[in-house]
Symmetry: C2
Subunit: 198 residues, 2 copies
């Protein structure tokens, strides 16, 4: 493909990243090689640093550089609210919105009988310990609106029944969303949860 | 955004690569961190290797790991044909097709009066030296079908007039191309270059 094994190997590695393909990997690698002192070396250095320091928070499953992440270490974030998400990417999305001031619990996936993913394979049993240890009053189940996500939410709700207040994100039409582009499930959910305008 | 400065910095660096944006950079970095021993460390190592070894071929402008690239070093590729391309990505695309068996000359851009890009800013003067030194019989101008690409092709054609055979890639409907999706210029070119079917 290109003239050397190492450059080809680098393109192959980049092409396997989510969101990239062979064509964008080739463009990215060419761009990095052209500005190798300015871009490629610093990027490689930062990857080494992150590879050496990144780890999962032992308490919540967030990714950070300490055994206990910044959010779990901050007393300000212990406000009695615990938001359960499937993935670190969901936690980051919530943090970008800035709407949630409590702590998180990252499951690391969803229950799935076909793939034999049970509660012990995720961080589900730990939620009960945290509810007690961190004086949680409300658990917000912010799982994806997929079959597996909702199965998992029901399982956790059953587990915590009577011990804590449970809630989930509202479903409906996204801000700026056009009905014509929404799937039937979203429209159905939005219709069922309709509010009176007066 | 995420919980640490280094991870945020890595996401920012990745997000600036062509073809990636903030969202795909976040997904890629999370993926790399999850498999840091398997993916992130080897990727960083390969980037360091490429940053230390990659360079432009002094003869043709191709990117490789030696002062003279594999293609320029191979006597088999000196067949009297020289293919002039704008960019290393174009050279790679030609090599993937496997159709061309000669050598390349990478200009590193196109002439552009507005941005004051003149022949000396590209590798244009060198073409004449190579025609003589490498016994070139035919120069194939494989520049992009843009205004700047065609201006540059005309300039090189004028420069080499009478010294060597000149050709350019055929223009027309791409294989599998549907007329409805093609721009007017391509249809016009394909119509003007139409061939009799008998
Ligand atoms: Zn944490
Ligand atoms: Zn070369």
């Amino acid at each position: 493909m290109s003239s050397t094994k190492d450059i080809d190997a680098l393109i192959d590695m980049m092409a396997k990243l989510p969101g990239l393909g062979p064509r964008s990997a080739r463009r990215a690698v060419l761009h990095l090689i052209r500005k190798r002192a300015l871009l490629l070396t610093p990027l490689a250095d930062m990857m080494q640093t992150v590879a050496a320091t990144a780890r999962e928070c032992l308490n919540c499953g967030n990714i950070g550089t300490a055994d206990i992440c910044d959010i779990c270490q901050s007393n300000k974030r212990q406000n009695g609210e615990l938001c359960v998400v499937e993935d670190v990417a969901d936690l980051w999305a919530m943090e970008r919105s800035g709407v949630f001031k409590g702590r998180y619990h990252v499951l690391g996936g969803t229950l799935n009988a076909l793939d034999s993913v049970g509660p012990e394979d995720l961080r589900i049993p730990r939620i009960r310990d945290r509810v007690e240890a961190e004086d949680v009053k409300e658990v917000i189940l912010a799982l994806n609106a997929t079959v597996d996500g909702q199965t998992t939410a029901h399982y956790i709700a059953d587990m915590l029944e009577g011990q804590v207040q449970l809630s989930s994100l509202a479903q409906g039409v996204p801000i700026g969303g056009e009905l014509d582009y929404l799937d039937d499930g979203t429209i159905t959910a939005a219709m069922r949860a309709r509010k009176s305008v007066s």
